[in-house]
């Protein structure tokens, strides 16, 4: 009898012990450690204080291995609760049915805090699959010295793409240097110019328009007149060429500033920032970092609580003091006194305030609405290949658009 009593008390105690134990959520971020250890730890400690029943197990994964690790974890049913992904990856994972829709864990008050375009980046079939975290919108970074050498006003860099072309001509003529290095991605150029990619019903290509031809001809002029490096190396080449002082201007995500500052201080000294010229659609492109919840995450509700905490305006503004990025929330950096002070001396802070105040127009344009997930890569590839071929003069511009249109139509019909 005594034994029985003892055992039942023991069982009860153990049950209570387990019941009282806080839920532990596993959170994955991309390559933030060790640079942002202090920041992340303070976020997590504050969160655990505010929600004593949730414990955070923060894991930082290297960027290049992240997607593979996540896929393996989900497939093995050992998924983390909240994961940091860029938009393209997040959409890929939605296509694989690997992410949980977050709608049921958020209310409209919480959704309202973030910019609509950013929330819509990862909205598929009416469901939100991610909460935007931080952005690195495109800006124009430029070398004041080269502009001055070319006799251009370094305080008034070009503000439209046509002005970019004109300025590049002058720079080439007077200094022999290239105007800028574009990162050419065919379908993104079309989106930025407000050219519809697909017809309303999604059955046909709709991008063979005069606007598309005009943009293509703009590139062809740049290429033929040797105003941009002809190797068309895009992002990586631009990074090297700008840091080496070979190009005057570089339209790029703002986090590039930090790179220039660290790797070529002499160029950074003459570097200034301006808003990037926008196309017809008035969209500013920005790679986004988002937080998502895997489909088989053990604690999705707690995970969303954490995500809302991490991406809150308070913690994002705090984060932006340490990194050249801007918040995804409607409360931005432009109101922050501290940032306005910093902007007087630092190009980084100037860029951050500039970008933050135009966040309304920022979007990560990876997603093509109405396109089946498995055709997405093929779609990008067909447009990209013809776009490039036309720029390099391998085929005439109009023929390139015609052929791309025909091939996309064939793809859509399969």
């Amino acid at each position: 009898m005594k034994k029985l009593l003892f055992i039942s008390v023991l069982v009860l105690l153990v049950t209570f012990a387990f019941a009282a134990r806080p839920v532990e959520i596993e959170v994955w971020t991309l390559s933030l450690s060790p640079t942002f250890d202090d920041y992340m730890n303070s976020v997590n400690e504050a969160f655990e204080e505010a929600y004593p029943d949730i414990k955070v197990n923060w894991v930082d994964v290297p960027y290049n291995a992240a997607l593979q690790k996540l896929q393996a974890a989900i497939a093995a049913n050992r998924a983390p609760d909240a994961v940091n992904l860029n938009t393209i990856w997040a959409l890929d994972m939605v296509g694989l049915e690997a992410l949980a829709p977050l709608d049921e864990y958020m209310n409209e008050v919480e959704i309202y805090r973030y910019w609509e375009k950013l929330m819509d980046n990862t909205r598929v079939a009416g469901n939100y699959y991610a909460i935007p975290w931080y952005a690195s919108p495109q800006i124009l970074i430029y070398n004041r010295q080269i502009l001055e050498d070319a006799g251009l006003d370094p305080d008034n860099p070009p503000s439209t793409w046509d002005e970019m072309l004109q300025a590049s001509r002058i720079i080439k003529e007077r200094t022999g240097k290239y105007g800028f290095e574009p990162n050419i991605i065919g379908y993104e150029d079309l989106i930025l110019e407000g050219v519809p990619l697909l017809s309303e019903d999604g059955e046909k290509a709709a991008f063979n328009t005069p606007e598309a031809l005009a943009k293509l001809n703009w590139y062809i002029t740049l290429y033929n007149e040797d105003l941009i490096p002809r190797s068309l190396g895009g992002y990586t080449a631009g990074q090297q060429n700008y840091s080496a002082g070979k190009i005057a201007m570089y339209p790029v995500g703002m986090s590039m500033l930090k790179h220039v500052q660290e790797n070529s201080p002499s160029i950074y000294e003459v570097t200034d920032v301006a808003p990037i010229p926008v196309g017809e659609a008035s969209i500013i492109k920005s790679p986004m970092m988002n937080m998502v919840v895997p489909i088989n995450a053990p604690h999705p509700a707690e995970a969303v609580k954490y995500i809302l905490w991490l991406t809150s305006a308070y913690w994002q503004v705090e984060f932006d003091k340490h990194a050249t990025i801007v918040p995804s929330t409607k409360i931005g950096l432009e109101q922050e006194k501290e940032f306005q002070e910093m902007a007087k001396t630092s190009a980084n802070a100037r860029a951050q305030i500039m970008a933050s105040s135009s966040m309304e127009n920022v979007a990560d344009i990876g997603y093509i609405a109405g396109l089946e997930n498995e055709k997405y890569a093929e779609f990008r590839r067909i447009i990209g290949d013809y776009w490039m071929a036309a720029i390099k003069g391998e085929i005439p511009a109009q023929e390139a658009l015609d052929k791309a249109e025909a091939e996309i139509n064939e793809l859509l019909q399969d």
Partner: protein, 416 residues
């Protein structure tokens, strides 16, 4: 005893075929869809196992009746029985309305039958030899298991995948028959990459020629020759990423190659080696050549040093010159090595991936079959099509390996 076993095997074959004809084996796509839209590969494997088991029963019968190899028949029968058990086990866990018992019964019958056949054979074999067999098979068992898990299973799985649509996250596999292949043959990038892969074969010839020449050169006994051997081998042990980055700089618009060619007045304007679609593939091929030379040189060197020196001495006494010695002694005796190297370099050329991935990323009409295999699987998550492409690629490699053997392997037959 043997008779009994054969009757059991016949029974299994007949009943199995009968059940399969009644669509009891969910293998055919039509039947599959009846059960469920999706299945995991292991369930598909189950169906294939059952069919394999039935067919093995037929093989057991054939081998024991016509060839009278009772031991072999017995062993085949045991594996057939195992396959039937495994198949029943896999399928039972998936199909709720599916009855595994006929198959377990058949597996049991085949197992008993083949053991009977085996026993009848083993009685005639001396005790000593039985022991040798048992020990030998024990030794083979472990490597076979490991190879089974890490080589044969992935191979088999790849074949299954090529007929299916597969979601790697939740393991759902939809059997879609030949649709992957159909889509492949409709895709223009398949033909571009096929063309490029064949163009890439061109690299095999200079690799063979130059590495053989190089190995003859470094086979000389002069002081400091080891230094040269090391230097020629250096590109092989250098990481592909480093090599590609370096070559990317060399090929750049304002890179080393353009600088040299322009300062020698060979070209007026810089050539865009990796951007121009007329030069990009050849530029990548040159990197492969450069990386491969040292590797094949070492193999050739080993072959050269295996040639007995008394042959050369005898030839010298007979008054043979350097060239005659090379063509009459070195080249014929190097034939097996040449075969090995040409097979290896052909296979490597077919599978070229790193250079393309790192130098051009498949752009500018440089994509190859192996690059497409990667792109489809890990960029587009279309594992079915990727597997289908991989199968086409491996079939092509097999064909070319056979051609290589016919071409360079002929000498061996003449000798025998």
């Amino acid at each position: 005893m043997k008779r009994m076993g054969q009757i059991l095997a016949l029974l299994v074959l007949a009943l199995g075929l009968f059940l399969a004809a009644w669509n009891e084996v969910p293998l055919l796509p039509g039947v599959w869809q009846e059960f469920f839209e999706y299945a995991t590969p292991s369930e598909l494997l189950g169906g294939l196992f059952l069919v394999g088991g039935i067919l093995l029963a037929g093989v057991v019968l054939g081998v024991s009746l016509w060839k009278r190899r009772t031991l072999l028949a017995g062993l085949l029968g045991v594996s057939g029985g195992m396959l039937l058990f495994l198949g029943a086990f896999f399928l039972e866990s998936y199909f709720r309305n599916w009855n595994p018992f006929p198959w377990i019964f058949l597996g049991l019958a085949l197992l008993i039958g083949s053991l009977l056949i085996f026993a009848s054979g083993i009685r005639k074999v001396p005790q000593r030899r039985v022991q040798t067999y048992v020990i030998a098979f024990m030794f083979l068992l472990l490597p076979l298991t490991i190879m089974g898990i890490f080589t044969f299973y992935p191979l088999f799985r790849g074949v299954v995948l090529s007929f299916a649509k597969y979601n790697m996250i939740n393991g759902k596999t939809q059997w879609i028959g030949l649709k992957n292949f159909q889509e492949l043959f409709d895709d223009k990038y398949f033909y571009i990459s096929l063309q490029n892969t064949f163009k890439y074969l061109v690299v095999v010839i200079p690799i063979q020629f130059f590495s053989l020449a190089l190995s003859v050169l470094v086979n000389q006994k002069i002081p400091g020759i080891k230094f040269f051997r090391t230097m020629f081998y250096l590109p092989v042990i250098t990481g592909a990423v480093i090599v590609s980055l370096t070559w990317k700089w060399i090929y750049a618009q304002d890179g080393l190659l353009n600088y040299i060619l322009m300062s020698w007045h060979l070209i007026k304007e810089p050539v865009l080696w990796l951007t121009d679609k007329n030069t990009a593939l050849w530029a990548a091929m040159f990197v492969t050549l450069w990386r491969g030379l040292g590797y094949y040189m070492i193999i050739y060197l080993a072959g050269l040093q295996n040639i007995p020196s008394d042959l050369y001495e005898a030839a010298s006494i007979d008054g043979a010159t350097g060239w005659t010695r090379f063509f009459s002694i070195t080249l014929p005796l190097m034939r097996p090595t040449i075969l090995l190297c040409s097979v290896l370099s052909t296979m490597a050329a077919f599978q070229v991936f790193e250079e393309i991935f790192l130098l051009t990323g498949g752009a500018n009409s440089t994509s190859t079959l192996a690059f497409e295999v990667y792109d489809r699987a890990f960029v587009r998550y279309n594992f079915g099509e990727s597997a289908a492409l991989a199968i086409v690629l491996s079939l092509m490699i097999s064909v070319f390996t056979v051609i290589n053997f016919k071409f360079f392997g002929a000498g061996k037959k003449a000798k025998a």
